[in-house]
Amino acid sequence: MAISTSLKQPSTGLAGRISTYLYTRPRMLLLLLLVPPLLWLGIIYLGSLFSLLLQSFFQLDDFTGRVVMQPTIDNYLRLFSWTNASIIGRTAGMAAIVTLIAAAIAFPLAYYMARYAGSRMKALFYVAVMLPLWSNYLVRVYAWKLILAKEGAIHWVVNHIGLGDVLDWILTLPVVEGSSLSTSYIGTTITFVYIWLPYMILPIQAALERVPRSLIEASSDLGAKPGETFRKVILPLSIPGVAAGSIFTFSLTLGDYIIPQMIGSSRPFIGQAVYQFQGTSGDIPMAAAFAMVPIAIMAVYLAVAKRFGAFDAL
């Protein structure tokens, strides 16, 4: 049987035998591929998350400074104190505002990039978006400290065009209040938007790129004006991209502790609370309980975002 020998030929040698073995047992190949990453993420990541959950039910003994391994929900009850609840509310509110502003700035940029920019222009835009994203995070925050400071560029420009009084008046408004932009909520918001903006632009741009050109042509062939095509075809198809981007802007704002520490009023955010409980007071259990808040918020957020198709646009 000439045919059978020629079929068997590739299977000689060790590599061939392993290859045939795996080919006939795809489940084995799946296991080989999947087990290393799953072990890593399962043990290191999920394992740590679990230990975090565990720690959140322990308590720090104030006298000995040691962690008492006796389950209690005291840490969670402490989250509802006025101070802690306002930290949570402030952070979630900031995350929502930052997400909205970022979407408003990102959409036109992404739309221009996806629909109108030629190949050279698109490369330029891409670099313009990626460069800040991958430049040092800390330094970009620091750049805004330079720009927003009382003696910095924005105050200098505003004073030179004679609007110094207007800016001073804005800075006396309730909620905003601060002696300069770099010590007010306006400064914090601008910096957050700036830092997370590329995370919003990229998924929206990707979603817009995926809108088939034929759909847009069909829409205009059927008599829709450009505005109508935008509202009824392009916008709905870009929603998954916006939802995907908002996961990042929302989540990253919830957990950041460097920006509010460097720029803004001294009122703390969740990240700072976690950092301080862990670092200054060595209270890992309370820090753990506090860290559960962004996890819980993100769980809800991810569930909602999934409904908008965010996971397909990541």
């Binding site: 590599a15 290859s19 045939t20 795996l22 591929l33 999947l34 290393p36 990453p37 799953l38 890593w40 993420l41 290191i44 990541y45 740590s48 998350l49 230990s51 975090l52 700035i105 036109p108 940029l109 221009y112 990039m113 629909r115 920019a117 030629g118 670099v127 313009a128 978006v129 460069l131 800040p132 991958w134 430049s135 040092n136 800390l138 970009r140 620091y142 750049a143 805004w144 330079l146 003696e151 910095g152 560029a153 903006l197 590329p198 996961i247 989540s251 990253l252 957990g255 950041d256 460097i258 460097m262 990240g271 976690v274 890992i284 820090a287 753990a288 860290a291 962004p294 996890i295 990541l314």
Partner: protein, 272 residues
């Protein structure tokens, strides 16, 4: 390039909104560079009272700067290597197979970047505290590799989805075994995506500070060194000089990653 892109003109409003975004994103970077040359080392005065290049010499003379830089490079290289292996395995498995719990695995891979960095950080910190693990170079790598996996995974699976399964079948039909097919067909197809993912993972790790604060102990990566520098009231431009150097180092991989992954819409054999 499709011809209808140039024929359609964007309105003035859209164009200016797009350019506003670009300027907003990039002007602050110019400020970083500008303040690296200022003669004022105590406040943030604008415009700078004078310009000087002395801060480069000051920074280069600092041993702690070089130590931090070298630590960051090593951490990033190890994290990148681990992420490339694990990310590619995961992408191959997720692309080729359907299995029970596949959605949960996707979620698990995405989770380290979907949850705030501080959660990853404090979780690892809590785990190290429970297991009484001492902080070392490897605790930093452990944290970094975890959130780098997804970057490689995303790049590789995107490429796999775009390449044609017919190529693999053809290779097997022509008598190549799985390893030969992997070596001669799949790998050349994946190479640029893999490299791009690795470069982005490197840049991500090189820049990370939030998770690192919780996993570093006494060691100082470059971002941690910078955070410490920022709090010092003197020699502020040193931080800017360090920042300029970091940007120069990370700029190349990013540009590289872009050129490696663009123009791959039409992978050989994808036209069915």
């Amino acid at each position: 390039m499709p011809s209808d892109r140039s024929s359609a003109k964007a309105g003035f409003g859209l164009t200016s909104a797009a350019w506003f975004g670009v300027l907003f994103l990039n002007l602050p970077i110019l400020f970083i560079i500008l303040y690296g040359f200022t003669t004022d080392d105590k406040s943030y005065s604008f415009p700078p009272p004078g310009l000087t290049t002395q801060w480069f010499a000051v920074t280069f003379a600092r041993d702690d700067f070089w130590e931090a830089l070298w630590l960051s490079v090593r951490v990033a290289l190890f994290s990148m290597a681990i992420a490339m292996v694990l990310g590619t395995c995961a992408a191959a498995a997720m692309y080729r197979f359907r299995f029970f719990g596949k959605e949960s695995v996707t979620l698990l891979i995405l989770l380290p970047i979907a949850l705030p960095g501080i959660v990853t950080g404090i979780s690892l910190r809590a785990a190290f505290a429970l297991g009484e693990v001492p902080f070392t170079f490897w605790t930093i790598v452990l944290g970094h590799a975890t959130f780098c996996i997804v970057v490689v995974y995303n790049n590789v699976i995107a490429r796999l989805r775009r390449s044609s399964p017919a190529l693999v079948e053809a290779s097997m039909d022509l008598g190549a075994n799985s390893f030969q097919t992997f070596r001669h067909v799949i790998l050349p197809n994946l190479a640029t995506a893999l490299l791009a993912g690795g470069m982005l993972a490197f840049a991500l790790s090189f820049d990370e500070i939030i998770v690192t604060t919780f996993t570093a102990g006494q060691q100082r990566t470059l971002p941690l060194w910078m955070l410490n520098e920022l709090i010092r009231p003197h020699q502020r431009p040193v931080t800017n000089v360090a920042a300029i150097i970091v940007m120069a180092i990370t700029f190349l991989p990013i540009i590289g990653a872009y050129f490696l992954t663009r123009d791959t819409q039409d992978v050989a054999g994808s036209g069915k």
